[in-house]
Symmetry: C2
């Protein structure tokens, strides 16, 4: 396979030229160019030059704003809420990260959330900016729904990446930059084109069942959270995906409402879901256990545990021991 | 199966009595009792009363300190480093969480790390304390090594839980409280006792290969990070497990050195690892790509991408276009 070798400077300059040609401000174009080239440089070609046309079109069609700068709507010494003014994602991302770094220098940590933003490239780019300042950086974003939560049948979560970067010895670093879906949709498409099955744990069919058939994932099914099925801990990836919605969508406002809207358009999750295995949110299984305890009027312990603990207590001279007069079954 | 129903108050009082009987301070005993009963109440019986004897023994043998209180070693407006003085985990956990909440009230966010601490029960207990104050809470802890990183053959990571709790509407809440291993070791032991195979993606054999045989996991193998094998994204769970080491071990000091020591005792990861699939840390794959780019003197792009982008550029009147004179193969 033939590939063209192009220097960073050339690619950056090219992206800047294309973006300014359609009306982006010079420094906005540069912000975009830098994160895209960094994506390519790090080997994430799906988030690099390959996507430039999407950003060009976003500016051409007015989907993204050309004018203005992000503004701080609300802040405390360590936190801020930013209105991205619908500017290019990297413009908003850089604004937020710079503000977070400034706050971290002042008070030890900075946590900034934005609404009214757009595609911002690789999450790791922003987390790594903190590393340059010898700090730990974190970056999260929610995205368009492609992921079907554990037990559900509809795509209601984005691939919601998590990035955490930390400086290490001698210029080394730890750079976690991962989607909370098992894989990117592109990987499933690639298998479909080749006619290959996908590994168990990448995606599900329209009924929410894990499938190895890429076609079923792409036609009415969806990606699953990383961890795969419920048996292999997919609910953990789902929980992390929701965590990103909480951090980015709910804390910031607008993006979460977009998620809600998408969810409501489908509006069938509750009706379609199997009543024996309802879709759960983080904390629900515990809530059900607590409800059970309340209904029973106490916490049910296995009798052997109680006996064993009482034996421990006896050895160290403790009195009274645990009561064991209410026996329940189950 | 017969179970004894016991009220919260009774269990708490019992644990307090046992702990004070062996010399724990009353309020330290109460801190422990509260988190253990909460564990049981939420249905995580593995982290409740069931573990009381371990804490009793820790105090009896002097493994945990009875006297003193945690102290702040270093702090900024939003952050602190706490010396747990080797006290019971819940004593240190509560101290840190209270401090973090206080800081969050003052400056918007608080991030507190501790060294010299011990088992602190369910991570969610601490995150949920923030929810009571209408805040988002986070809690992480590194633990003893039970997890084999992707591509590795030795247990070098703990089950390293992540908890994030957020208040929701009408008293509801989001409470993520998950180990970064696929499952708890107890689940593998249970399958072994029953003679059942385990699902793919729970554990590996002594050679680091995913296995469905619980015996091999328990004798020289280990748990795998959640996500399972490399194909199904296990490296993401591994990355999150390392993130917890960074947050808890490295930021705090001592616990990371314990991790290092364990790792060095085995001291064979590098020698045992398959040289074709070396164990990687988050950021390594990108580093390899960047190295490749540097060696080549540019970023290799597929010629079709370059052509397509140049076509986009041409349409919007951009000049010069991307150069395509250096053709490389591969």
């Amino acid at each position: 396979m033939s590939r063209c070798l192009i220097s960073h400077v050339e690619v950056k300059g090219f992206i800047e030229r294309c973006m300014t040609a359609v009306g982006a401000k010079q420094h906005h174009a540069r912000s975009l160019a830098e994160v895209l080239v960094e994506g390519d440089h790090r080997g994430h070609y799906s988030h690099g030059l390959n996507r430039m046309d999407m950003y060009v079109k976003d500016i051409q069609t007015g989907i993204c704003a050309k004018d203005g700068e992000p503004v701080v709507e609300k802040e405390s010494a360590a936190t801020a809420l930013v209105d991205g003014r619908n500017l290019l994602g990297p413009v908003v991302g850089n604004f937020c990260m710079n503000l977070a770094i400034k706050k971290a220098k002042d008070v030890g940590i900075g946590w900034v959330v934005a609404h009214n933003s757009n595609h911002y490239g690789i999450a790791g780019y922003y987390a790594m900016q903190a590393v340059k300042e010898n700090m730990i950086g974190m970056s999260f974003t929610n995205t368009s729904p492609l992921v079907v939560p554990t037990r559900a049948k509809e795509c209601t979560l984005g691939t919601n990446p998590i990035s955490v970067a930390a400086p290490a010895k001698d210029g080394d670093s730890f750079v976690l930059d991962m989607a909370t879906s098992a894989v990117a949709l592109g990987k499933v498409e690639l298998h479909e084109r080749r006619g290959d099955p996908i590994p168990e744990g990448w995606g599900c069919d329209p009924l929410g069942k894990i499938t190895t058939d890429p076609k079923r994932v792409l036609t009415g099914g969806g990606l699953v959270p990383f961890g795969g099925s419920e048996d292999t801990g997919g609910y953990k990836g789902y929980g992390l995906g929701m965590m990103v919605e909480v951090f980015c969508g709910i804390l910031a406002g607008a993006q979460y409402s977009k998620y809600i809207r998408t969810w409501k358009v489908t509006d069938r999750v509750a009706n379609l879901a199997d009543l024996d295995t309802p879709v759960l949110a983080a904390g629900d299984p515990e809530r059900m256990n607590m409800k059970k305890c309340e209904d029973m009027g106490g916490i049910p312990y296995h009798i052997n545990v109680v006996k064993y603990m009482n034996e421990c207590a006896r050895k160290i001279g403790v009195n009274p021991l645990l009561p064991c007069d209410k026996i329940v079954s189950g």
